[in-house]
């Protein structure tokens, strides 16, 4: 049942990603060159809608969160490394499969590289556990937790900020 749900979810996700052109190399690198905000418009729209729905369902007791722990060093170093690879490959893990789906054959090389990267990480993981991965572990924290402000206030401010950013993109025509 989990596999069936996964494939349906993935097909819809891939469909929307393709319709927004968010999986294209040009859009991904275009954003990193700060010339094309398509992928950010797409992501932030998803985040705005998602945040309201997820927090509403959580408040109603329908769902629970699945928060990734904050590991400051690992997220900064890993995040910067990801960014370097992202700019070279022009894809991220999810969009690479979508790019292959719409005929971008070269995404296949990125996908193969990612599999090798995963294998390499598995080899060095034991060596990283006691240092990089252990530096700055703050646990599963959220922004409302650390600011001690009601989550709806944060969501409201977050949405206003996103809408202002959208307005800025429209004005700049990017």
């Amino acid at each position: 049942m989990g596999l069936l749900l996964g494939i349906i979810t993935g097909i819809l996700f891939g469909f929307f990603l393709q319709k927004a052109q968010a999986i294209r190399f040009e859009r991904q690198v275009g954003f990193l060159l700060l010339k094309d905000m398509t992928i950010i418009k797409f992501m932030l729209s998803a985040i705005m809608v998602g945040a309201v729905g997820i927090y509403l369902c959580k408040d109603l007791g329908i769902i629970s969160f699945s928060i990734k722990a904050t590991d400051v060093a690992a997220q900064i170093i890993g995040g910067l490394l990801f960014g370097i690879g992202w700019a070279i490959a022009g894809y991220c893990p999810g969009t690479s499969l979508g790019a292959l789906g719409e005929g971008r054959i070269h995404a296949l090389w990125a996908i193969l590289g990612m599999l090798v990267g995963a294998g390499l990480y598995a080899e060095v993981y034991p060596a990283l556990k006691s240092n990089v991965l252990a530096w700055g572990n703050l646990g599963k924290i959220t922004v409302p937790d650390i600011l001690k402000i009601n989550h709806w206030v944060i969501i409201f401010i977050f949405i206003v900020a996103i809408l202002m950013l959208f307005k800025f993109f429209q004005n700049k025509n990017i």
Partner: protein, 179 residues
């Protein structure tokens, strides 16, 4: 409705909003059906696929690897999501007549030329670095960018900011401003 399916491009705001709804529905339905909330993500799947391949060629090595034991090598919900992204994109591009065979993207061509081999090498090396980074950071733009930030998790904001900073600096150096 039919027009929308065959339209080649949607507004990124609209398509994004649909992904937001999909993310909510995914969590609600998986909580009901699987008794576990499933949040969108992609990069762990690459670990599991590599683990499955390693099990074929070096079973003992794969079975005793600490990271594979931690992430559990199996065909799971997220692996199907990643496969589904391929199918969904293929369907969408065929319906919208935007499917296009491409070996070297334009921005790359302007900087590194027409060679599909050079582009392939770049994509491969980029892929290695980015997935290594994603696993160290604990996720990619789907898991950290969408799912963590939706939950307002601090980890998501830090990771996504670093993805973007690393990417902007590298793109600037690599494509020299681009065209």
């Amino acid at each position: 409705m039919k027009n929308y399916l065959t339209k080649s491009v949607w507004s990124p705001y609209l398509a994004g909003a649909f992904v937001g709804i999909l993310a909510i529905l995914s969590v609600v339905v998986s909580t009901k059906v699987l008794s576990k909330p499933m949040y969108l993500g992609a990069s762990t799947t690459f670990v599991r696929v590599t683990g499955l391949i390693e099990q074929q060629v070096a079973k003992e090595h794969a079975d005793t690897n600490e990271y594979f034991l931690y992430e559990k090598i199996k065909v799971d919900w997220q692996m199907m999501v990643v496969l589904g992204i391929f199918i969904g994109s293929l369907l969408s591009s065929l319906l919208g007549k935007s499917y296009k065979k491409e070996f070297v993207p334009d921005i790359w061509k302007q900087r590194f030329g027409n060679s599909a081999v050079v582009r392939g090498a770049g994509a491969f090396i980029g892929g290695i670095i980015l997935l290594f980074g994603a696993r160290l950071a604990g996720g990619c733009p789907s898991g950290h960018g969408l799912s963590s930030i939706m939950q307002l998790a601090v980890s998501g904001f830090i990771a996504m900011a670093c993805f973007i900073i690393g990417g902007i600096i590298t793109a600037k150096i690599l494509y020299k401003g681009g065209k």
